[in-house]
């Protein structure tokens, strides 16, 4: 009875909406229900009338302009052919933004990382009953179901069979490599399922997103290992990108009560992206340099690589330290025979950094002294571009044992940032930055005053940065004026805004 009245109310509302009938005509059609219908229809009309508000014309015009401009720019960038420039540019920003989260996550995930991978995997998938069921299906009457469940989506009749089949595969993937490959495949499968649900117009609930997080989480723990090859790491980098794109696209399909899971899945995907890039960078170092683990092995010197002849561009001329002392002598590589990355074992300890053994890293015209692995520091590179074409990383990262101090150097211009972990947060210090033709460095006294011993290490690193002038392919005419050396100025170590020096540069 109520359903019929709801139908008639709606029929009248639709008729009023389309202009097919007037209120009086609607009431005349249903005279026995007219008394109930009339006040409701009048209320609906009042609501409609009241809520038919036009946006302010000034707002509409301004927002339209912003929307169209943003749309044109963003889409054209997204659709540009070749590797996405935004990805390359964002690598540094993502690393810096994720640095804090990585350390926190690493601390909370330590117990898991210490477990053998297969044990962690079993903990995540304890579906013993389902395993038994699938084995029975394999052995007996369910062959058809198993073989046709591969495309099943969550909520479909054969989906549980598909998942149980996956668990069987995981159980029988005995080697680390096999499990890793399967982890990547299954994380991709969960993402395909989400895309599939969205394609069919089905809502995406929290369990689906949690499944994606579960598969992705197993990758996160694994990414800390040092035995990744570039192929697998590249797959995970691309998978993380796909995750971010798909999750953004399907956002409208995500159920209201699953918004938190969506946000968590996006954050996890971002974390995977950063860690996978690092794993990829490390793998690339390993494969290209032939080193066993990482490039900071102080007793190893890399042979020049014939393929690595590209020279990173630089706008910075050699500088002196703020105290006027000359930079440590740096090798002057021949441009046509430049090595990709060379790590030369060490110079003696410097005052204020007693006990530290220093390695010199040379990348083309750029060189810098960094604390060695033997002193508890680790050197890695980030950002080789998306097509593996760059001969050297865009960023050098030097991290201490506890991950509480991170020094990041851009070898193209020598920009150096120091991140110190205190009270749950990473604090950023700009230690050296090139602005136009000037180089700004933090004030050594201020740094030592604030940070004691650690400041000595960071200061030594930044004062040892040397970027040789670019080679001149053609003879320079004798009457060409030589550009003056870049000025070096000191700025306060704290309270700096990026790119905004605290003091006027000193000529």
């Amino acid at each position: 009875m109520r359903d019929r009245f709801e139908e008639r109310l709606n029929e009248c509302l639709e008729a009023l909406s389309s202009g097919q009938r007037t209120l009086e005509q609607c009431l005349a059609i249903y005279p026995r229900e007219a008394a109930r219908l009339e006040p409701l229809l009048r209320t609906a009309l009042r609501l409609r009338e009241t809520l038919s508000v036009e946006p302010r014309s000034e707002f509409a015009a301004a927002a339209r302009e912003r929307f169209v401009v943003a749309g044109g720019q963003g889409l054209m960038e997204a659709l540009r052919a070749g590797p996405r420039p935004s990805f390359v540019r964002a690598a540094r920003a993502r690393f810096l933004a994720a640095a804090q989260r990585m350390v926190v996550a690493g601390q909370s995930r330590g117990w898991r990382a210490s477990l053998p991978q297969w044990v962690a995997g079993l903990n995540l998938r304890p579906a013993t009953a389902a395993l038994t069921a699938v084995l029975l299906l394999f052995l007996g009457f369910g062959g058809f179901t198993v073989t046709t469940s591969g495309d099943a989506l969550p909520g479909e009749w054969n989906y549980s069979v598909k998942r149980a089949t996956e668990n069987v595969r995981l159980t029988f993937a005995f080697s680390e490599g096999a499990r890793r490959d399967l982890n990547i495949e299954l994380a991709g499968e969960r993402l395909s399922e989400i895309q599939g649900l969205a394609d069919k117009g089905r809502p995406i609930g929290e369990s689906v997103l949690n499944d994606l997080k579960g598969e992705t989480d197993s990758l996160v723990g694994n990414l800390g290992e040092s035995d990744w090859d570039t192929g697998d790491a590249r797959q995970v980098v691309e998978l993380a990108q796909q995750q971010q794109e798909v999750l953004a696209q399907v956002e409208p399909m995500v159920k209201e009560n699953a918004q938190d899971e969506l946000v968590a899945a996006m954050a996890l995907s971002e974390e995977v992206s950063v860690k996978a890039e690092q794993a990829y960078a490390l793998a690339l170092f390993t494969e290209k340099s032939g080193k066993a683990e990482r490039i900071s092995a102080g007793d190893e010197t890399e042979e020049p690589s014939e393929e690595a002849t590209e020279t990173p561009p630089s706008e910075v001329t050699p500088t002196e330290g703020p105290g006027g002392e000359p930079s440590p002598p740096a090798p002057t590589p021949v441009p046509t025979d430049e090595p990709m990355v060379v790590v030369e074992p060490g110079s003696p300890s410097e005052e204020g950094t007693a006990g530290i053994v220093w390695d010199r890293v040379v990348m083309g015209r750029f060189s810098v002294e960094v604390p060695s692995q033997a002193s508890g520091w680790r050197l890695t590179g980030l950002g080789f571009g998306t097509d593996n074409s760059a001969p050297a990383p865009d960023l050098l990262r030097i991290t201490n044992v506890g991950g509480t101090a991170i020094i990041v150097i851009n070898p193209r211009n020598g920009d150096t940032f120091w991140y110190e972990y205190k009270d749950g947060l990473f604090e950023e210090f700009i230690v050296r930055v090139a602005v136009a033709d000037e180089v700004w460095q933090a004030d050594p006294d201020a740094m030592r005053g604030f940070h004691a011993d650690y400041a000595g290490i960071v200061l030594h690193v930044v004062q040892s940065i040397d970027i040789a002038p670019p080679p001149t392919p053609t003879p320079v005419p004798t009457d060409t004026p030589t550009p003056p050396p870049a000025a070096t100025a000191t700025v306060a170590a704290s309270g700096l805004e990026p790119g905004v020096p605290a003091q006027t540069p000193v000529p």
């Binding site: 009048r42 809520l51 036009e54 927002a63 889409l75 696209q249 209201e256």
Partner: protein, 199 residues
Amino acid sequence: MEFGSVAAPVSAEVEQETIERARRGDQQALADIYDWYLPRIYRYVLARVGNVIEAEDLTEDVFLRMLGGIAGYRMRNIPFSAWLFRIAHNHVVSYFRKSGARGTPGILDEQIADARPGPASMVETRLTVEEVVRATHDLPEAQREVIALRFAVGLSVAETAQVLGKREGNVKALQHKAVVRLQRVLAVKPERWAAEGSG
């Protein structure tokens, strides 16, 4: 007496072709989509939050979010309008979650309310958006959604069902309950508010 037009501004074919161009970054196509949907998205958001300033900010966010997803939008089993209103719905829900608010009316531009033409024959008492949002404040969330989509935006029951992921019968039932309740509330509250205001 006409209830209002909810007809699509263009044919489905034209809309689809425009969306395809927008996905390729065609600025005119983006501008067309914006022009077609801005008033309805704005009305929906205003009906939910009851605050002009917030409604403008959230409306702009909805369109920027749409930009982020339109390259991946395909003509699935969900029409573009339903897809866009889901973005709006999620964004409003997210706003409520972050702000802790639930459609509490704030500053309303009196000029907007007063500028609306209101045929005396259609309404017993002139309402403002603020009064309507206040009246809907105590409704369950699903009923508030239906009121906003049906009466502020002008979506059909079928379209509303698609946006909310509900069956059409369910939407009709929610619509019935909401209108019944609002009929009672609005019959009393405006007079009482007016009395409170004059006192």
